[in-house]
């Protein structure tokens, strides 16, 4: 090998200076071209290692925003829709909920939680004052039934049912003024249901009273009150939706992309507040393109 190297070196030294220069330059270019990929990939590794970059989201995922995740109500509704398969508005045992017996302390607790929600709803203007008192009076009437079902994530759904004929006033109860079929007041049915989180925040609230008119006018700030009631008023991207040209009695509706929540409030036969977790695409797919303001 040494002899060959000497021979090549002698041949190289015998070349003209210009040729030697050209050979050196060409050799350097060849070596550079061979080494360049190694350098490039080493640099590539240097850029990769330790430098975070956005990760891909698998197809089909609908990540909830950080703001939505930090809100208990939005996070819980998101989990119900995408993870647990639970609809807070459908809380019967046939929907997968578990019946919870209400006796003793549990009953008192349930009543207290329901009263608290009703009072707060009245304070937020979702119920008239006399409506609030009327509902609270029902809890003092033993003619109602209160049931509870539970679901994962600490959800509890309460349902109060009342059916009865209001008592006639005692001071005017005479044979002549006794109720007759012509003067007797009709029976009354009241349905109050709500789904509460472990903290007592309502995810849904529905009050149906057969004596209440259908499609009563909502106060202008009814939607704000509903959002506050559910604890999602902090999102800044609520977008009001106008379904009036399709659903005259749709009430007031809004959507937030941060929270991935659709909320609606209406006074059909009472009061109904519902919320559902969905993406903008799902909203458009269900309800079509609507005016927003």
């Amino acid at each position: 090998m040494r002899l060959n190297e000497t021979k090549w070196m002698r041949r190289f030294a015998a070349l003209e200076p210009k040729t030697r220069r050209a050979v050196r330059f060409c050799g350097a270019a060849v070596v550079l071209c061979l080494v360049l990929p190694l350098g490039v990939f080493a640099a590539w590794d240097g850029l990769l290692l330790g430098n975070p970059r956005p990760r891909p989201d698998p197809e089909g995922t609908r990540p909830l925003s950080d703001a939505g995740r930090q809100n208990t109500t939005a996070c819980l509704l998101y989990d119900c829709a995408h993870l647990l398969g639970i609809d807070p508005a459908r809380s019967s045992i046939y929907d997968g909920w578990t019946e919870q017996p209400l006796e003793g302390a549990d009953l008192e607790l349930a009543q207290a939680r329901c009263r608290a929600v009703v009072v707060e709803a009245g304070e937020l203007g979702l119920l008239e004052s006399w409506q609030t008192e009327d509902i609270l009076d029902l809890f003092d009437d033993n003619a109602y039934t209160l049931t509870a079902t539970t679901a994962p994530a600490g959800l509890t759904a309460y349902t109060l049912e009342y059916t009865g004929r209001p008592a006639e006033p005692a001071d005017v109860a005479t044979p002549e003024t006794a109720a007759t079929p012509e003067t007797a007041q009709p029976s009354r049915s009241v349905w109050l249901s709500m789904t509460l989180t472990a903290e007592g925040t309502p995810l849904t609230l529905s009050w149906q009273d057969s004596w209440a008119p259908w499609g009563a006018e909502l106060p202008e700030d009814a939607l704000d009150g509903a959002l506050t009631l559910m604890g999602v008023e902090g999102f800044t991207d609520w977008q009001l939706l106008d379904w009036s040209h399709r659903l005259p009695d749709a009430g007031q509706c809004a959507y937030s992309a941060q929270a991935q929540l659709y909320v609606s409030v209406n006074r059909n036969n009472g009061l109904s507040i519902t919320a559902a977790s969905m993406t903008e695409a799902e909203l458009a797919g269900i309800y079509g393109e609507e005016d927003s303001r």
């Binding site: 891909p56 600490g154 989180t197």
Partner: protein, 488 residues
């Protein structure tokens, strides 16, 4: 530097650059695709793990009043990890608190916090303990809890595959470069071999060997260059030969001229010295004076003809612009010559004129000189012959007019015929000098014939006579009429 060396080096450099580009593109593309595939696969896997963990936490813990304690969540994640072989994950609460981790030891807490600080929904690569890990973070949707799942997935195989491809490329590139450079050298030397022969031939020609030729017969630009070079070499060789001939002829001319001058000068000097040295008899003085006069006249005639010859030598052969050509009829020409001959030497050998009615385009004065010289030579050849006669004729022969001067004199030996037009060549010098010949008359006539695009032709028989002929193209009828009008 040799052209073949330039070609070889350029090819090698270009080949190396191409191999580099191809290697970077292919290996890089493969590596990028591998990483993207790994990220996509492991991202989907982590989301599945996330959903499963969230379900576990919400389902198992939520029923107990929705209280998500740290220990309970940690246990849920641990339980999931133990049931999933190969999973490496850590659960962080509130951004910095690790409540569970089964990540490899090589992934330090510092590295983990750095990934978390980059924000949720991020990915990072980390090299630890000889392995390469893909770290993915994803937040858990647990109400009221800031929980982040940090998962680590082994992507060493992706990098190992890339390194293997890179090694294979490197080996292949070295082999291809070596083979390519060798082939390029051989091909370039083969392609430039004609140039080497061209250079070698041009060196030998520069050294004086004008017979060298490249003899390259390829059908490309080099072949065309070689053919042009060979043509140039041939032209140079011919030119050199012509120059050599010209130089030799000039030397011979000077030598002959010098000799022609020297011989009469020596005699003239001798006779003049004789007359100067001592008184001589009247007869001797007359003889000397006659000799001096005769030789002086001959030298004068010689100088006149030399001047004429030198003037004609500067003109190009056959060029129309070299001489003043005009239509000339043989009758007019013969008439002028006859008058001149009668005036000069009326008692000399008779001349018979036989015009043929031909008209040629020629310089009348030069043609006159040519015929006059031929006639004088013919008369000298017939000198002393009682029935000596010179015939000057012109006849049409096809498209040409043939002028001929024929005598019945002494004739010219056959071996002397090719040399009679050489300057100062005389068959019989003493006889020619005695008749006033200078030795350059036929040289002058031949030059005049060359200027007209023709040449003298000699036919002779010793003892019977000589015929000298000249061919000139005939002219059209119109030009003949113009010539007749001009002669009138």
């Amino acid at each position: 530097m040799k052209f073949s060396t330039k070609l070889s080096l350029s090819f090698a450099a270009l080949l190396a650059a191409a191999l580099c580009a191809v290697g970077l593109a292919m290996v890089g593309r493969s590596f990028a695709d591998g990483m993207a595939s790994a990220e996509e696969t492991f991202s989907a896997r982590q989301y599945a793990e996330k959903y499963s963990i969230e379900n576990t936490i919400l389902t198992q813990l939520g029923t107990s009043g929705g209280v998500y304690t740290t220990s309970a969540m940690s246990s849920a994640v641990q339980s999931f990890a133990e049931q999933t072989p190969g999973s490496c994950m850590a659960l962080y609460l509130d951004g910095r608190n690790s409540v569970y981790s089964n990540l490899p030891q090589g992934i330090s807490r510092t590295d983990q916090l750095a990934v978390l600080e980059a924000g949720t929904g991020q990915s990072s690569y980390l090299r630890a303990e000889g392995q390469t890990w893909l770290l993915l973070t994803v937040p858990l949707n647990i109400p009221g809890v800031d929980a982040v799942l940090l998962s680590a997935y082994d992507v060493t195989s992706v990098f190992a595959s890339r390194d293997a491809q890179l090694t294979a490329w490197f080996v292949a590139a070295v082999v291809v470069l070596a083979a390519g450079a060798g082939a390029a050298g051989a091909v370039s030397r083969s392609l430039t071999r004609p140039l080497t022969r061209l250079q070698s031939a041009s060196s030998r020609i520069a050294a004086g060997d004008y017979t060298q030729r490249t003899q390259v017969s390829t059908d490309d630009e080099i072949g065309a260059l070689s053919r042009s070079f060979d043509e140039m070499a041939g032209a140079v060789e011919s030119r050199i030969a012509a120059l050599d001939t010209n130089v030799r002829q000039q030397k011979d001319f000077i030598a002959a001229f010098t000799h022609e001058i020297k011989t009469p000068m020596t005699s003239m000097l001798g006779y003049a010295d004789l007359m100067r040295a001592k008184p001589q008899s009247a007869e001797t003085q007359r003889e000397a004076a006659n000799y001096i006069f005769r030789e002086t006249h001959r030298l004068e005639e010689l100088s006149r003809k030399l001047l004429a010859l030198m003037g004609l030598e500067n003109l190009s052969d056959g060029e129309e612009s070299a001489i003043c050509k005009a239509p000339v009829t043989d009758r007019a020409l013969f008439a002028r010559l006859d008058r001149a001959m009668q005036t000069a030497a009326p008692e000399a050998v008779p001349i018979r004129w036989q015009p043929g009615g031909c008209t040629v385009l020629a310089d009348a004065a030069l043609l006159d000189d040519l015929l006059r010289n031929l006639i004088l030579n013919a008369r000298r050849a017939c000198a002393g012959k009682p029935d000596g006669c010179v015939t000057v004729s012109c006849r049409a022969d096809g498209a040409d007019a043939v002028f001929a001067v024929q005598d019945n004199g002494c004739g010219i030996p056959a071996e002397d015929l090719p040399r009679v037009v050489e300057p100062f060549y005389m068959v019989d010098k003493s006889r020619a000098r005695a008749g006033g010949g200078s030795g350059i008359g036929l040289t002058l006539c031949q030059r005049i014939a060359q200027l007209h695009g023709s040449r003298l032709e000699f036919a002779s028989t010793v003892g019977q006579g000589t015929t000298v002929s000249l061919r000139l193209p005939l002219q059209s009828d119109l030009q003949r009429e113009e010539a007749d009008h001009a002669s009138e």
